[in-house]
């Protein structure tokens, strides 16, 4: 779904233009101004703030962390500063190159500094007076909780960048939810203990009630606002998806259709080749516009897609038209795959020997069996006079069908064409409630 990948193959000039347009903002940031502070993504211990500052100042990250730890000892200034920087300094873009991340030793060192800083803060708080002892403890708990939640938000953002808009607000996965809940619990406990200690249970109950009532009131009052916000978000997302899809189509047209047209102009004196190119392109475009029954690895998963693919290959190889109609559809299984291969062999035979410009292929999925007819209006032949050394019909078609429990019938008259009829019993339930589809073709 990434439009960039599809654009790069044709016309060096154009694709370069596209690339520069895409990269321009990043390039401008890097050249015109000194690099702003960006929190690190890798090698971080809490949120990458210290690393980012170190990158910005061009000093070793150890010293920055040491300064934060030392400041923490001064009534927790370091923690406040760290928190503020965390809030206001954006994280590095995922696309930007990352400096080599820290070793495990550096990490240990950093964790030591964090512990040291917190210890110093608690100690200095205890020293400052008897009051702050029971303030600092719960406060520290609340801070740890907030750190957990914030960090999770960073993670969620990173996931969103990575996965596109697929994941929701909080990212995916149960562990993320648990981490957030744990963080929230820590914050609540910290603040709760603090409040209980300061004011006592009764006042707290009243305050809690007031807070809940207020929050409820605000929630109700702002319902229209929320709905509008959600709708706007959905609308925006839809528009973006559509734009992306259009860009993809444009890229595809640009890529293969223009290329084919150019080839056709060059080969204009060779009608056979022109027809082959045009047909191949037409089929590709149809498949691309209408058919989505193909997995990522380009292997068809349904009967109609498989027959369409086989027909297309024969069209390409032998420069003729395969008129192909499939009624109903079902998932491929080994038996049906053999059927498709046998049908393909029949098409190849017709293309090679019948001397025609068009072959008809008709497939039908019935509740208890699948039938495929491959027909041409060509020379036809007498089955009894086929030389013994010809294996096409005997092995590739009849043998294959026999091995998979199918059946072959042949109708051919010299001068009137040939029809190979392939029957394969169907054991499995049909896919879905009529998910059939007419395969692409003419």
């Amino acid at each position: 779904m990434n439009p960039n990948t599809a654009r790069v193959t044709i016309g060096g000039v154009t694709s370069q233009v596209v690339e520069t347009v895409d990269r321009q903002p990043a390039a401008a940031r890097q050249t015109r101004y000194p690099e702003p502070v960006r929190r690190r993504r890798g090698g971080r211990v809490v949120a990458g703030v210290a690393g980012g500052v170190a990158d910005h100042l061009g000093v070793d990250v150890f010293w920055v962390r040491a300064v934060f730890a030392a400041l923490t000892a001064l009534n927790g200034v370091g923690i406040v500063a760290y928190g503020l920087l965390w809030l206001f300094v954006p994280q590095r873009d995922a696309a930007e190159p990352e400096r080599a991340s820290g070793s495990s030793k550096e990490r240990q060192q950093a964790l030591g500094l964090v512990a040291l800083g917190i210890g110093a803060a608690v100690f200095s708080g205890l020293l400052a007076g008897p009051v702050s002892g029971w303030i600092v403890g719960p406060l520290a708990v609340a801070l740890v909780g907030a750190a957990v939640v914030w960090r999770e938000a960073d993670e969620a953002q990173r996931r969103r960048w990575r996965d596109g808009a697929k994941s929701g607000l909080l990212g995916s996965g149960r562990s993320a939810l648990w981490r957030i809940l744990a963080g929230v619990a820590l914050v609540a406990i910290g603040i709760g203990v603090l409040l209980v200690n300061s004011y006592g249970i009764d006042q707290l109950r009243f305050a809690l009630l007031a807070v809940v009532a207020t929050l409820g009131g605000v929630a109700v009052l702002t319902v229209p606002l929320w709905i509008k916000l959600i709708n706007d978000l959905g609308e925006e997302r839809r528009v973006r998806i559509r734009t992306e899809e259009r860009a993809e189509i444009a890229a595809h047209l640009h890529d293969s259709v223009l290329q084919t047209l150019a080839l056709i102009q060059k080969q204009s004196e060779n009608p056979r080749e022109v027809k082959r190119l045009a047909r191949g392109q037409e089929r590709q475009l149809r498949e691309w516009l209408y058919g989505r029954n193909v997995e990522d690895n380009n292997q068809p998963t349904t009967l109609s897609a498989a027959i369409a693919k086989a027909s297309g290959e024969v069209e390409d190889h032998f420069a003729l038209t395969v008129q192909q109609v499939v009624v109903g559809d079902c998932e491929l299984d080994p038996n049906l795959l053999a059927l498709v291969q046998a049908a393909r062999e029949a098409m190849v035979n017709a293309a090679k020997h019948a001397g025609v410009a068009e072959i008809s292929v008709y497939g039908e999925v019935e509740p208890e069996r699948v039938t495929v007819f491959v027909r041409d209006r060509g020379k036809g032949f007498d089955p009894d006079t086929v030389p013994e050394d010809r294996h096409g019909l005997a092995d590739s078609i009849r043998g294959r069908m026999d091995r998979h429990g199918g059946e072959v019938r042949l109708r051919t008259t010299p001068g009137e064409g040939t029809e190979v009829q392939l029957y394969m019993p169907l054991h499995m339930p049909r896919s879905g409630n009529g998910s059939g589809k007419i395969g692409s073709g003419k």
Partner: protein
Amino acid sequence: MTGRETPVRVFLVDDHALFRAGVRAELDSITDEVDVVGEAGSVAEAVVGINHVRPDVVLLDVHMPDGGGAEVLRQVRTSLPEVVFLALSVSDAAEDVIAVIRAGARGYVTKTISSQELVRAVVRVSEGDAVFSPRLAGFVLDAFADRPGAAPISDPELDLLTPRERDVLRLLARGYAYKEIASELFISVKTVETHVSSVLRKTQLSNRYELSRWASDRRLV
């Protein structure tokens, strides 16, 4: 079916001028059985043009901006019931084609058809027959397939194909010509044409609900 004394007057409706020019040149050059008397590139133009020219046959593109071929049919068919429409499409989407057939077109051929076959198809619909390409036969078979678990059909008389009609359609979809179908089924060509025409009528009359459900099953709408 004897030779016609006056050529069939044909009106072309297609939003691609290049395609119109091509069809017109081919039809004019290969035969004097048909005579292109007008063309239009949009629904509005087509409605005005057809009302003015009153052709015998309209070659109607399925896919057009603002409504497509079905819209032209809706606007013209009641006022000019004698004009015959033949859908001529590059479309792969069954619901487009079926929609035009249901709106009253007398047949459907694909744009890859050869000029001779197109002339034959035009002459045949002008004489009152229905013309099916293998693809349309496939679409119709698919539309009428009695699938397990399908919703009950409100009017079975109207909605089901007889086994014989189904056989005819299958052979059509397999690429048989009418003559070949006739000899395969031991019936006359006239009977084949009757079957095909009655399939067409059923397609036009079959209830909307079934067809729209069929289309939405395939995520076509």
